[in-house]
């Protein structure tokens, strides 16, 4: 499975990479901000994205809105320090499928990835 990590912190991307490796995912591409992600995502065709909110150049919310304008289905998990309820609602409205607040344990991130993929792979019901 192709997974795109979008976070301006290399440390955070490494932590996420380690969690994904434990789940058996190794086909991973990294982007340092929303703009970088927008330039890499079309060719990489990610099947899951983990996206930070606060980043330089282009923040995660702007990136999600831009990506959703061209792709409605890629599962997106926002992984961010933005914990206020209003922020979570804003992200869901923009097209985020799930939400993880930093700090997180590896178990929590792993659980959210698994449940997001399961939910997004279910056939749509009428």
């Amino acid at each position: 499975m192709r997974i795109l990590l979008v976070d301006d912190s290399k440390t955070m991307r490494n932590i996420q990479r380690a969690v994904l490796a434990q789940l058996g995912h190794t086909d991973i591409l990294e982007a340092g901000d929303g703009q970088d992600a927008l330039s890499k995502a079309p060719a990489f065709r990610p099947e899951l994205m983990l996206v930070d909110w606060n980043m330089p150049n282009m923040d995660g919310l702007t990136f999600v809105k831009a990506w959703r304008a061209v792709n409605k289905t890629t599962p997106i998990i926002m992984v961010t320090t933005e914990a206020e309820k209003a922020r979570v609602i804003e992200a869901i409205k923009a097209g985020v499928n799930n939400y993880v607040v930093k700090p997180f344990t590896p178990d929590l991130l792993s659980q959210r990835i698994t449940e997001t993929l399961a939910k997004c792979q279910q056939p749509a019901t009428a």
């Binding site: 440390t11 932590i15 961010t80």
Partner: protein, 168 residues
């Protein structure tokens, strides 16, 4: 001093250090920063804007910072390296982000972090507003939280200052 702005930072640093590094943080009595209080060797700075403005700084002695970076990122990093600054920046980002989520009826945004490295550097601040220092103790060494924020409407102000320059 309004504890409504102090307690969130204590709760947040304890949560971040415990969740990401299984590290207990004990806080000592906060004090008002004086002009002659030196800063430490490494500082992560984050700005706040919106209903609450100012800045939050996590300052460390070199040894503490090196221990924390190794624990957080899983590998040692030289103090001057990008990896080192990145890890310190992410720690202060999580502490500030977690604290602002606990502010009641206050909406604010945080900046991307800046990291200052240099022995006994000093972060210059506005002189008309106080800065509260919360000394913390961990198994990795000492950490200081410098809180210099204020409400834009003047309510519930415990401290307020914005770093305007940094020098090593």
């Amino acid at each position: 001093m309004d504890p409504n702005y102090i307690k969130p930072f204590i709760a947040s640093i304890q949560n971040v250090f415990s969740t990401m590094m299984q590290l207990e943080v004990q806080t000592l009595a906060p004090f008002l920063r004086q002009d002659n209080n030196p800063d430490l060797d490494v500082s992560g700075v984050i700005g706040m804007s919106g209903d609450v403005t100012g800045s939050v700084v996590l300052s460390f002695p070199q040894g503490t910072a090196e221990n924390l970076v190794a624990l957080f990122s899983g590998q040692k990093a030289d103090m001057g390296s990008p990896e080192f600054a990145d890890a310190i920046g992410e720690l202060v980002n999580m502490v500030a982000g977690g604290a602002k989520a606990m502010f009641k009826n206050r909406k604010c945004s945080i900046s991307t972090p800046s990291v200052i490295v240099g022995r006994n550097h000093r972060i210059a601040q506005q002189s008309d507003v106080p800065c509260i220092v919360i000394p913390c103790s961990t198994n990795c060494g000492a950490v200081h939280i410098l809180i210099a924020i204020k409400s834009v409407d003047g309510q519930a102000t415990n401290a307020g200052a914005t770093p305007v320059a940094a020098k090593a």
